[in-house]
């Protein structure tokens, strides 16, 4: 076995552990340096991961897979992690003495996501999932003096533990019926029996919790609102993408559509429609931008799920394509919210009043990113939705596509509500919001990503095509 192909994971693990240790040893001033150095290190790993994208290998009889699909997601997590940490540069001051551990935990969460997306069997998958989720339990409660944050951490811990238990139970049922935990071996080894169906449903429920699909979404709004914004962002873009990666791998490899009598597509279709409809409708009434983005990201999970429902080339492409643009667009929107919260101390919609006069660029980036989430061209979200719903229509789910597209137009209403506050709201404070250099870099990267992917989607589309080639 050639362990050099694991360099990405090994490096991320090393950086994460080093940051934890160094943070303890160094005095206060050094801690700021730790953050910058770890960002730099992650950037180098990202470059390496891009170079290593086409390399593939299988480890330990297939329990860990290095393949283009996993590699694609590793790149995605690294981009997301870097953007989130950059945008958090000013917010981190709130963590006072614990800022270097923040970086450490974020990096370990990234490692968890990587393992989750590359695991070839249920046990490894579970380890990756827990590494990611436990890091997030801590991060969610990171603002110790803030009651909401502590509450969010506790809620997440309890609900997350239950969902993990459900997922694990589902996995054990599938193991009981097939005698293997290796995903690619399950496909040939199973017969349709009640216990098997129960196992599948539980696996769906366990993952549905992680991607906050309705009716497994109850945790999301409170936790998104209570957690520190950078953590919320990473939870929304990273943890969701990782769970999707695992979901796609399990269902496409272990239970390929058409080969089995159990039609999981229709279950997911119903979940996706519920999520798109209810998520968007509840978001309409929100007055707090963080909470609004929480509901919007619930709805977004519904759109992405449509791609897996379709389970064909366009649909899967849509899943991967959308997950990537979602990183840029959602992080961009959250980064603006972070800047506003740092400045005004609140993310209520009133705090955004007059933003277009104070900081025109921030308002423009917020508008562009939100419209991308709504699927308005020429922003990236439009192409993503085009792929997702093309897949759905091709697979015969016309009704899902109609509901999804209408709901995404309904979502424009609440996104424009924020735009309205920014463009015609009046604020007492007329001074521009001051941003430091890393946050500016993150914002510009999000804007550039959202627009470039939208205007010229060709390269990313080819990239995604390679990444899904193993399933079809």
């Amino acid at each position: 076995m050639d362990f050099s192909l694991l360099t990405t994971e090994i490096l991320v693990a090393l950086i994460g552990l080093l940051v934890l240790v160094v943070g303890l040893v160094l005095p206060d001033r050094g801690k700021q340096l730790v953050g910058k150095l770890s960002l730099l290190a992650l950037a180098i790993v990202l470059v390496y991961a891009l170079i290593a994208f086409p390399r593939e290998a299988s480890y330990f009889n297939g329990i860990y897979q290095v393949d283009v699909f996993g590699n694609y997601f590793k790149i995605l997590f690294l981009i997301a992690g870097i953007l989130v940490m950059l945008s958090a540069s000013k917010y981190i001051k709130r963590f006072a003495a614990k800022s270097s551990e923040f970086y450490g935990l974020m990096i370990l969460a990234t490692l968890g996501m990587m393992v989750l997306s590359a695991s070839g069997d249920f046990i490894t998958m579970y380890i990756g999932l827990e590494l990611m989720t436990i890091s997030f339990y801590i991060l969610t409660a990171y603002l110790q003096s803030d009651k909401r944050s502590s509450e969010a951490g506790l809620k997440y811990l309890i609900l997350g533990a239950i969902s993990s238990a459900v997922l694990l139970f589902g996995m054990s049922l599938v193991y009981a019926m097939t005698g293997t935990t290796i995903i690619s071996e399950i496909a040939g080894a199973w017969t349709m029996q009640p216990a098997m169906a129960a196992g599948l449903v539980m696996i769906i429920a366990g993952f549905a919790f992680k991607i906050s699909v309705i009716p497994f979404h109850m945790w999301a709004p409170d936790i998104y609102q209570g957690a520190p914004i950078p953590v919320t962002t990473y939870l929304a873009v990273g943890s969701k993408a990782a769970a999707f990666a695992a979901l796609v791998r399990v269902f496409m490899l272990a239970f390929p559509p058409g080969s089995i009598s159990f039609n999981w597509n229709i279950i997911l279709a119903v979940l996706a429609v519920l999520t798109m409809v209810i998520g968007n409708l509840i978001a309409l009434t929100q007055k707090n931008v963080k909470r609004l983005l929480a509901y919007s990201s619930i709805a977004q999970a519904g759109y992405i799920l449509v791609g897996l429902v379709a389970a064909n080339t366009y649909g899967l492409k849509g899943v991967l394509f959308y997950a990537m643009l979602y990183v840029f667009s959602n992080t961009g929107a959250f980064a603006v919210a972070t800047a506003v919260e740092v400045d005004a101390g609140s993310t209520d919609i009133d705090a955004f009043n007059g933003l277009a006069k104070r900081s025109p660029m921030l308002a423009a980036i917020m508008t562009v990113c939100m419209l991308s989430l709504a699927g308005i061209p020429p922003m990236a979200g439009f192409v993503g939705k085009f792929y997702l719903f093309s897949g759905a229509i091709q697979a015969g789910y016309l009704w899902v596509a109609i509901i999804g597209l209408v709901m995404s137009m309904v979502s424009v209403y609440y996104y424009l509500g924020v735009a309205k506050a920014m463009y015609i709201g009046v604020s007492i404070d007329e001074n521009p919001i001051k941003l430091d250099v890393p946050a500016q870099m993150a914002l510009w990267a999000c804007l550039a990503g959202t627009l470039l992917i939208g205007i010229y989607p060709g390269p990313l589309s080819n990239f995604v095509q390679t990444a899904i080639s193993m399933f079809l």
């Binding site: 719903f389 093309s390 229509i393 091709q394 989607p457």
Partner: protein, 502 residues
Amino acid sequence: MNNFPILSLILLAPLIGAIIIMCLPKDNGKAIKYIAAISTFLSLLLSLVVFIGYDRSLGGMQFVEKIPWIADLGVNYALGVDGISLPLMLLTNLIGFSAVYASWNNKERIKEFFALLLILITGVMGTFVTTDLFIFFLFYEVVVIPIYLMVIMWGSTKRVTKEYAGMKLTIYLLIGSAFLMVGLISLFIKAKGITGVPSMDMAFLATIDFPVSFQVMVFAFMAFAFGTLLSMFPFHAWSPDGYAGAPTAVSMIHAGVLKKIGGYGLIRIGLFILPAGAQIIAPIIAVLAIGNVVYAAYICISQKDLKYIVGYSSVSHMGYVLIGIAALNLISINGAIIMMFAHGVMAALFFAMIGNLYEKSHTRNVDDFGGLAHQMPRLSVGFMLAGLASLGLPGMVNFIGEFTIFVGAFSTYKVLTIIGVSGIIFTALYILRALGNVLFGPRREEWDHLQDLKGPEMVPLIVLGAAILIGGIFPFTLMDLISSGVGDLIAQVGLVQIGGIL
């Protein structure tokens, strides 16, 4: 000249202008306005070059450009104009250029205003010059958001608040576009299933023989989407409120060209790609079109606000366009396209004049005015020109459009056409009454301080007025062109239909 990307240049000039404006400091008002004027003037000039340079004897798509864009969706950045799209592209640039001048006196946040206006103009133009469905849809949705922002930032609150008007307009159009997107994706997937290659090329899709039931479904989606955009009864409610709330330039572009995307889409995508579906749904459209003509005209008679009068009258006039399209013959479709051009310049001129008057007097209520021809003779000329064009006076381009539509439509829908013609009488009623009250009668002292049009304010009057008269006196400048474009389309559609029956 053949390889010169002239259409790209026309399309991108306003966008480049917008980017330059975004980089300028916001207090440099003069430079911002000049850049907006120069970039739209460049587009206008080049589109005139294309208009004259288009080889009428050859016909078909000309000035074609094609760059592969998204391989697996079969999307190309493909541009080209024919007899149908060329007049509408010219219309866009005439109105775009005038709209910049109609907003010349704007003092509030001009940097954002002109940047958004130029993006809007690019978006509208893009739908007319592309021959690729994906790119068409992309531009189609691009326009919605700048309009919303412009309405809420620079709009006016009268009967309804500008926030309400803007949101109503946006949501109506977006819900329509959701159905359009469903239709387009279905079309794309079906075509891929039949031919095996992904393609978004309109001409290629038109050669495919889709099953009739499928055509009916997709055409129904499109009729809903494009009908909403064209303010087809009963999906027209956004239109008068939207125009009333919007700033002058947006009203001009929206009523002038944006609506026409609906008619253009119905012809270019609906009739061209889905002829069998069109034939089955056309009678429904014809009946709704009469709803437009008569119902909106009735409402219009009782309106007091000048913008609402023009708003409802434009809903009413779109009924003519719809009936022309629904009649599905060469003459009526020719008429529909001329009517779109004619109504575009007329409505834009009307809104420019109303905007100018409102800016100076802060009211749009018909009863507040009287005898304005004494104080503002040039403005009155503009009003009269637009008003007389609106009621279809011979010598104006609108007359050509209406006449052609009714001649064409009469052979298909006899009763409906007769009802439709009554719209002309209603139009004369409300337009002449409104203009009479506003412009003529005794001089009123309270309006003595109003300044007549001068300097940059004259530009919309000259440009749009000239288009109305030239089109009306020399109709063949447009007619030959449009006829060649529609002829090509009918020829192709006819062939497909025969193939379908056999």
